[in-house]
Symmetry: C2
Subunit: 499 residues, 2 copies
Amino acid sequence: MSERIANAELAAKVMSADEAAEFVNHGDKVGMSGFTGAGYPKALPAAIAAKAKTAQGAGGEFKIDVFTGASTADAADGVLAEANAIGFRTPYNSDRTLRGQFNQGEAHYSDIHLSHLGQQVQQGFFGTMDVAIIECTKINEDGSLVPSSAVGNNVEYADAADRIILEVNSWQSLNLEGMHDIYAPEQLWDRTPIEINDVGDRIGETFQRIDLSKVVAVVETDDADRNTSFKEPDDVSKQIAANFLQFLEDEVAAGRLTYDNYIMQSGVGNVPNAVMAGLLDSKFENITAYTEVIQDGMLDLIDAGKMTMASATSFSLSPEYAEKMNEKADFYRQHIILRPQAISNHPEVIRRVGLIASNGLIEADIYGNVNSTNVSGTKVMNGIGGSGDFTRNAYISSFVTPSVAKDGAISCIVPFSSHIDHTEHDAMVFVTEYGYADLRGLSPRQRAEKMISVAHPDYRPLLREYVERANELGGHTPHDLATAFEFHTRLAQTGTMKK
Amino acid sequence: MSERIANAELAAKVMSADEAAEFVNHGDKVGMSGFTGAGYPKALPAAIAAKAKTAQGAGGEFKIDVFTGASTADAADGVLAEANAIGFRTPYNSDRTLRGQFNQGEAHYSDIHLSHLGQQVQQGFFGTMDVAIIECTKINEDGSLVPSSAVGNNVEYADAADRIILEVNSWQSLNLEGMHDIYAPEQLWDRTPIEINDVGDRIGETFQRIDLSKVVAVVETDDADRNTSFKEPDDVSKQIAANFLQFLEDEVAAGRLTYDNYIMQSGVGNVPNAVMAGLLDSKFENITAYTEVIQDGMLDLIDAGKMTMASATSFSLSPEYAEKMNEKADFYRQHIILRPQAISNHPEVIRRVGLIASNGLIEADIYGNVNSTNVSGTKVMNGIGGSGDFTRNAYISSFVTPSVAKDGAISCIVPFSSHIDHTEHDAMVFVTEYGYADLRGLSPRQRAEKMISVAHPDYRPLLREYVERANELGGHTPHDLATAFEFHTRLAQTGTMKK
């Protein structure tokens, strides 16, 4: 029995991925581990894809419904999508092939808040969950699991599924043990408070209990997560980060923040990384994070003693930082807690701790409505992820974005967002390389002025033209509906939103 | 000293409304009690309006910023608006004159979630609060207040304001004492759980403590709330109610609800009243409500023994039911709790108790995005109220609406909502007189089919036409942005959304 499979009953169920895939059938609802390219099953998806191709080659059908934590990798969503084996998918996805299938109407995608999906599965909104496929670091003697680099919806999927397939990945460091805080909230109608008052509070166990009788297969793997490097921040990212830090400084000056109570939530990407680099040299101390994913910049802040505690549900690290994590997990687990996404993203806890949310966007409109998901209102990119969970309940919700995309052909500030994922009621502050627009307490007409002030100078005249035309038509939220999407229709016709 | 002013220090500050209005100055930020036409100050607003007219008549300026619980009445928002004395207003408003000023850009309106405003005031998002004007039923010997028919943001306003003016309204029944549960959550960054696990849990005190040294005036009044009668439900309302009850029955059949755990949240109006009438004859028992306002139908359900407990922040009763409440408050307070709106609408508690939200709308689009606030995207009606608080965190969120408005000239289901207050990520079920559309777990293309099935038959071909055109252009969320608002532009040009 290997060191990583310490339970005899489960050790007896070790088999190949192809053998395990026999437990996955056409039409199954499959809950998979995996969040932002970490902790996803490495072997089963390819084996299921092969089974699908065989079935399809013989003239049969083979499609499954895939539920995950968030995005996975080529080895999971990628191979399944290539095999046309996904009929339905939720929640967040970043796989290009699969995204193409959503946009062609070939696969169904339901874009659900990351904090909501687990409970919706448990509440039976999707019917019966057939299989859970869960990666773990180790199986303990009692059959409980040491989770790997992401927790995601593993608790809910293992609880709800009829059958469980485990992948034990020896690439994951055994030192991850102790980093997780596995807690399952009470179910309806017996719910009680989630007793996290501070980012670092632990309320659960370091392992995941499962019903051993449901485990049909255990598969051994030894594969790295999809760790991708970040680009060095460019000048625009650095300027956005500087403006965001100026906003924090101004909040301190206004008495709404002090240098030692900044609680960070941060989306993933180059701008957030630039913000974290900026924080290294800032006056902010004892920074904590209540967020979804642990990024390189947070490890730097922890190493520098600037960040004392980070709570998340997964890692999203570059290959070098993933290696560092695996080597020094015993150190980092004093400063990092990985929780189920139902908890990392729970509105109750987010509201209570009082964090400053900071997420990217596709576009925002002059009144502060945000499109995070659908390019030109139609083609889905990745999904809303946790941005709704955080934006809706943050102490202060902010969005950070370059003012333009595609070399200036696209303005990220438009007259009317072509899809709306966050409304004017939730979005407070917008930061671009031209400054920040603080919309708190403003009426729509006042908001438009602020938003235009942080738009790219090339687009300010066009936005002002729209506002003047709209104001002539009047209303609390002035719009000229006949031309509200003129930026988008011009882009479609000419390749640029510019006139 | 009157029976209702039992504190000597405050009894010494009794004066006329005109005298009290001297404590309210041009430019002041004024937090007023009042929620859905209950518990608003009856005397001060007219006195302030008179002061404003005098100042304006002398060539001076006089405008105040008005913060309330929600809507008030002619005697509050109405008289101030008529005097052009409101520069800024938040959150919910139903006064026609004031609404007109918002839509003309003459007064600034910021449409904030009802659960958010109190904390935003405390957090300093609006600067310093100058005056709080609070109606109460009685002043206790120790100076604490027995609240009246609404609690609203009274705790936050009295705490944040430099000066407090009290109105003691002897129209309010002394038997209301004991009905309230006044609890102020801990402030950032020391927040702890709000320990309400069941609708009927009490966590606070029956009175409101205030800083007596801040009280500058006490004014005595004897005036009824703005109680308005409901219309008898018409056939359409009855059919919508029947379809909503069918939805509940189907949830029971699916195992997602039982006859004794329906927790109601309900918007105000004829359809909700018809639903409550339908519940009287249904199999549902031990109904509870975790909602904003106590309506006639809830008293009927309590009288019939069908509803065991209702939690809200105010009454919105017809004159006859208001009279009944004042006579039988000692009975009703065993079944009714009035809380601060920060608690009645708190995401944490809403999510925990597991309620079924049911609110009205202006329009929804084929993908399930909801406009609750701005007619044709521009003219604000009343504001988002608590619909966002409940929709975002409900167990199941539903919207109830007639399929058409203005004798069929307006379809309440459109290709693209002209303003979006609730997104596809939050809205689950839509009920019209033609049935219900359950969008849970569906992709946008599937959602469109469901939504069109509950649209008015006159508009289904037009909606199908749009969907076909949009599908040809493709995308996960198919749209033809050039014509996405064609229903609205046609209405503006021809007076009807019909072709």
